[in-house]
C-alpha cells in the first residue's frame, strides 16, 4: 500500500503473463465460456484471428494494482472507467501502470484521480482509462 499519496505519484505496476491456461482458468472461475476466449478453432475464424483474454481478467489485474496501492479504500470507495483498445492474447506480457493525476477535496473528503493504462510487451495499449479513490486517511496525503 502507498505510504504517501500526492499528485504525480506513480502507482506500483502489476506485470502478468497471459496464457491460454490462465484464460481457461478464468473462464471456469467466472463462468464466461464465450468461445472467443477458449475455443481456438472458433476464434481463429473470427476477425480477431485467435483467442483473447477476457476483458474482466485484464481488469482484475488493474484492480489488483489499485488494491495494492490503496488497500480497502479501493474496494469500498473506488470508481473505474476504462476502454478496451485492443485484445490481450495468449503469450502477451501485460503491464498495468498508473499515476495519481490529481487530488481533490469534496465535502471534506479527499479523492485521488488516477490515470490507468495496461500495455502489452510491444507497448501497445490494451486498456486505458481512469480511476477515482476515496482516501480514508488524511495522514497519507502529502500536499505540494
Amino acid at each position: 500500500m502507498l505510504t504517501e499519496v500526492y499528485e504525480g505519484k506513480t502507482l506500483p505496476p502489476v506485470v502478468k503473463n497471459i496464457t491460454q491456461e490462465k484464460i481457461n482458468l478464468y473462464a471456469e472461475a467466472s463462468g464466461d465460456y464465450n468461445p472467443i476466449h477458449i475455443d481456438e478453432s472458433f476464434a481463429a475464424r473470427t476477425p480477431l484471428g485467435g483467442t483473447i483474454a477476457h476483458g474482466m481478467l485484464v481488469l482484475a489485474y488493474v484492480s489488483e494494482m489499485m488494491t495494492q496501492a490503496f488497500g480497502l479504500s479501493w474496494a469500498s470507495g473506488g470508481k473505474l472507467s476504462v476502454r478496451f483498445k485492443m485484445p490481450a492474447r495468449p503469450g502477451d506480457t501485460l503491464t498495468v501502470s498508473g499515476k495519481i493525476d490529481s487530488i481533490e477535496c469534496k465535502d471534506g473528503i479527499s479523492y485521488a484521480n488516477c490515470n490507468l493504462e495496461c500495455c502489452n510487451q510491444n507497448n501497445e495499449t490494451i486498456v486505458s482509462g481512469g480511476a477515482v479513490v476515496k482516501l480514508t486517511s488524511k495522514k497519507e496525503i502529502v500536499h505540494a
Binding site: Y26, S30, I36, E64, G78, K79, L80, F84
Partner: protein, 140 residues
C-alpha cells in the same frame, strides 16, 4: 457460479429494448467461488471479496438470462464500489439494458448492473458496453 434463483428461457439480443430489466438474480459469494476466482487472477482473497470477483459473478449471473451470439467482446466498462463484502455474503444482482446501438454492421449493447447486499444496500454498480460480432464472426 451457481445459486441462481431464477431460471427461464434467455432473452435474445433482438428481443431486448432499452429499459428492459432482467429478472434479479441472487448468489452466494462462497469461499470456494472466491478462492477459484483468486487462483484464476493470481491474487489473494482473505475475508473480503475482491470487487472484480463480485462484478464477474454478477455478469455471469445475468448472462444466464441473456442469449448473445458467440464472439461478443467488451468495449468499455465502468464500475463504482460502495462497500466491502465479506466472503460468504449473499448478494443480489439487478441489470437492465441502457442502450442498444447499431451502426452499419456493428451492434453494441450497453448494460447497467447493480449489486446489493442482504440489507439491500448497494455494493457496486457498473456499466458494460459489449460489441456483438459482425457478419464475419457470426458466419462461423
Amino acid at each position: 457460479m451457481s445459486d441462481k434463483e431464477i431460471s427461464k428461457t434467455p432473452i435474445s439480443y433482438e428481443e431486448l429494448v432499452p429499459g428492459y430489466e432482467f429478472p434479479p438474480v441472487s448468489y452466494e459469494l462462497s469461499v470456494q467461488l472466491v478462492s477459484k476466482y483468486a487462483v484464476a487472477v493470481e491474487s489473494s482473497a482473505n475475508e473480503i471479496v475482491p470487487p472484480l470477483a463480485i462484478a464477474a459473478c454478477a455478469m455471469n449471473a445475468m448472462s444466464g438470462e441473456l442469449s448473445l451470439p458467440p464472439g461478443v467482446i467488451h468495449a468499455s466498462q465502468e464500475f463504482e464500489f460502495f462497500k466491502l463484502v465479506p466472503i460468504g455474503s449473499v448478494v443480489n444482482c439487478q441489470a437492465k439494458v441502457a442502450r442498444k446501438i447499431a451502426r452499419a454492421s456493428v451492434h453494441m449493447l450497453v448494460l447497467e448492473l447493480g449489486v446489493f447486499d442482504e440489507n439491500r444496500e448497494r455494493v457496486q454498480s457498473g456499466k458494460a458496453t459489449l460489441v456483438l460480432p459482425g457478419q464475419g464472426a457470426n458466419a462461423h
